[in-house]
Amino acid sequence: MTGMPRESHLMVGGQNIRVWRQGQGERIGFLAGIGGLPRWTPFLERLAESREVVAPSLPGFPGAAGHDELDSIFDWLLATRDILTAAELEGADLMAVSVAGALAADVAGVWPDSVHRLILLAPFGLFDTAEPATDIWALRPGHLPDYMCRDRETYKAYIEQPDEADPIEWKVELMRALEASARYLFPTGNTGLERRLQRITCPVLLLRGELDKVMPRSYLERFAAGVSGPATIVDIPEAGHLAELDQPQVVAGLVQEFLE
């Protein structure tokens, strides 16, 4: 799809964690959404034109193990925080997508100095019984891509097996990534974050694809209303849940504009 990032590995909490980096300049951390980061993307490449993009893998997502050691949201927060610190992202800007948004928001709230500015794209972490988010763990087989991107082929290409990968292990890795997010979000996606939102004092940019079939816009409005720092919501036309895959240039432009 794009040029390859530089890869390194860190030992964090006894687990081998893959970190991908690209670009130079002020550092921004990136935590990927549903399915993790199976490959580098045009969005990250575009972002890396002006920043050093650092994308560590969270436990259980492609590039890192250890999700089955984490039982509570407290375990997950400590793991996320330790990984961000080890990847030299302490105090840096941080972007997180979808399922990772719940963890990034909590890290920013629990350790306010650890995140400079926060960008959340269609973040999980809240739940509203009056307007439930789509149950991503109860989709009919083969339907996940329809919910991830405006065009299902975009997501299928994102998770397509590379030639060099073992076909069985690739399937296991993708399934493990879905399991990892279920481990801290099942069954509703509510991590109790709402009680802690007011601890978030840094500037927050909230992004959502206008065609997102997973996360209702009202969730972003509750995020914006709940945090203590300044928060802005921007809707991205012609984009689904993983809007950075559908509209890489637009999303990268919005992030750069927010950070300038």
């Binding site: 039982d71 109860a138 087989p141 399991e179 990892a180 099942f186 069954p187």
Partner: protein, 418 residues
């Protein structure tokens, strides 16, 4: 050979257009479809049927656990088992089971099962399924990624609660209880037999071998589908150095007995089609949430799919249709074994030997089968099939995993209510 009469307790009056108008029999089945007035009769009929089976001489009656399910009206199998503990005399009470990962602390399961074992005078078999993903993850909201860890811990907890001779502390990963003290204590020593219903994962086979528990292959799809699973199970037992005692294993089969095969084909068509077409109408969105299946099982399934595809492309693929809805297909594929008493007995003997199973769990009521037909099927089986199979394996192998009830002269006398 142990022959055990199994009831799923299906709601027998799902409308004819159920499949067209409703997405699923499970999880989001329309609550308005349940008529409590009709349910009153169904439950009482079902309990009558279980009691009748016990009177007819079946070795055990079996109950199981489902939630938000139109073909399984037993969210609490313990409730049904407790009534049977009073109303039956000799049959074992096989509870298959309690999905123990759903109950925290699992103390309640240990206590209730101990009560049933005591009330029944030591006739209870404790089945502990991990539970279907529909029941556990969707109907009960359990985390699929932690379900098995919780499950194994809960079984360990219950076993200790039944066997420790002192009050103890349990400091598990999921269950923390400072004082564990199961009153009452079960009758059976060291504890009631533990059976593990499973779908065919290698880990479950190994677990059963390690813990000396019975492995039960419970599927609605009959003996043909079971061959590969049970042969795999025994190959694993060989590898682990365990003997091939058929009483290590159990297997479920739907049965329809008539005086002749022709009669049986006429009698059981409607209830079989009701079950396989209407009752198994499950929305595929409720199939397997990520994390429910272990990575080892995913690997094995992907590998076997690759092998199946290779076989199929070479023209040697399996011929068993796993989705038959019409009665001819249901019988042809072995989901329901139908025939005269001699035909059914011959086939069951062949299946028992081929699969190496000493415990048959037999569904002689299925779908919307009427109470009269259920009794007919049960009686024919008990009178004409059971005697032909009774001796199988019993001389050669000992069933170490069967109940150990109190002697009859030690049991409480039954007195009619004043």
């Amino acid at each position: 050979m142990k022959m055990m009469w199994f009831h799923l307790m299906p709601y027998t009056e799902l409308p004819e257009d159920f499949k067209e108008k409703h997405p699923s029999v499970w999880i989001d089945i329309d609550p308005k479809l349940f008529d409590p007035h009709r349910g009153h009769h169904m439950y009482n009929d079902f309990i009558d049927e279980l009691e009748y089976a016990a009177e007819c001489g079946f070795d055990a009656v079996c109950v199981n656990e489902h939630h938000a399910n139109g073909y399984g009206l037993m969210p609490s199998p313990n409730l049904i088992a407790s009534t049977l503990a009073r109303s039956t005399q000799d049959a074992a009470l096989c509870i298959l089971g309690n999905s123990v990962a759903l109950y925290n602390p699992p103390t309640r399961v240990a206590e209730e099962m101990a009560m049933i074992d005591v009330i029944s005078g030591g006739r209870m078999i404790a089945g502990f399924p991990v539970g279907s993903p529909q029941d556990t993850c969707f109907a009960y909201g359990q985390n699929p990624s932690m379900l098995r860890q919780r499950y194994f811990e809960a079984i360990d907890f219950i076993r200790r609660a039944w066997t420790e001779d002192k009050v103890f502390s349990f400091d598990g990963r999921f269950t923390k209880q400072r004082y564990v003290n199961c009153w009452p204590r079960p009758v059976q020593e060291p504890h009631p037999p533990i059976w593990i219903p499973g779908g065919g994962s290698v880990e479950t086979w190994r677990y059963c071998a390690e813990m000396d528990y019975v492995y039960c292959f419970l599927s609605y799809f009959g003996y043909k589908i079971a061959r590969e699973q049970m042969h795999g199970y025994w190959a694993e037992m060989d590898r682990l150095g365990k003997d091939r005692n058929p009483f290590r294993a159990g297997f479920l089969q739907f049965i329809g007995v008539g005086e002749t095969k022709k009669e049986a084909m006429e009698l059981y068509r409607e209830p079989a089609e009701y079950f396989y077409d209407r009752c198994l109408h499950v929305d595929p969105r409720w199939v397997v949430p990520p994390g429910y299946m272990t990575e080892a099982t995913i690997r094995a399934r992907v590998e076997s799919q690759v092998q199946l595809a290779a076989k199929a492309s070479a023209g040697g693929g399996p011929s068993i249709n796993q989705n038959a809805k019409d009665f001819e297909g249901i019988v042809e594929n072995g989901y329901v074994l139908v025939g005269s008493p001699d035909e059914v007995a011959d086939k069951l003997r062949e299946i028992a030997i081929d699969l190496g199973v000493g415990h048959f769990m037999l569904l002689l009521q299925f779908g919307n089968m009427s109470k009269d037909l259920t009794r007919y099927n049960t009686r024919l089986f008990a009178e004409k099939v059971m005697p032909q199979l009774r001796d199988l394996f019993e001389d050669e192998w000992e069933d170490h995993w069967w109940v150990k009830p109190l002697a009859k002269n030690e049991r409480a006398p039954r007195e009619a209510a004043a």
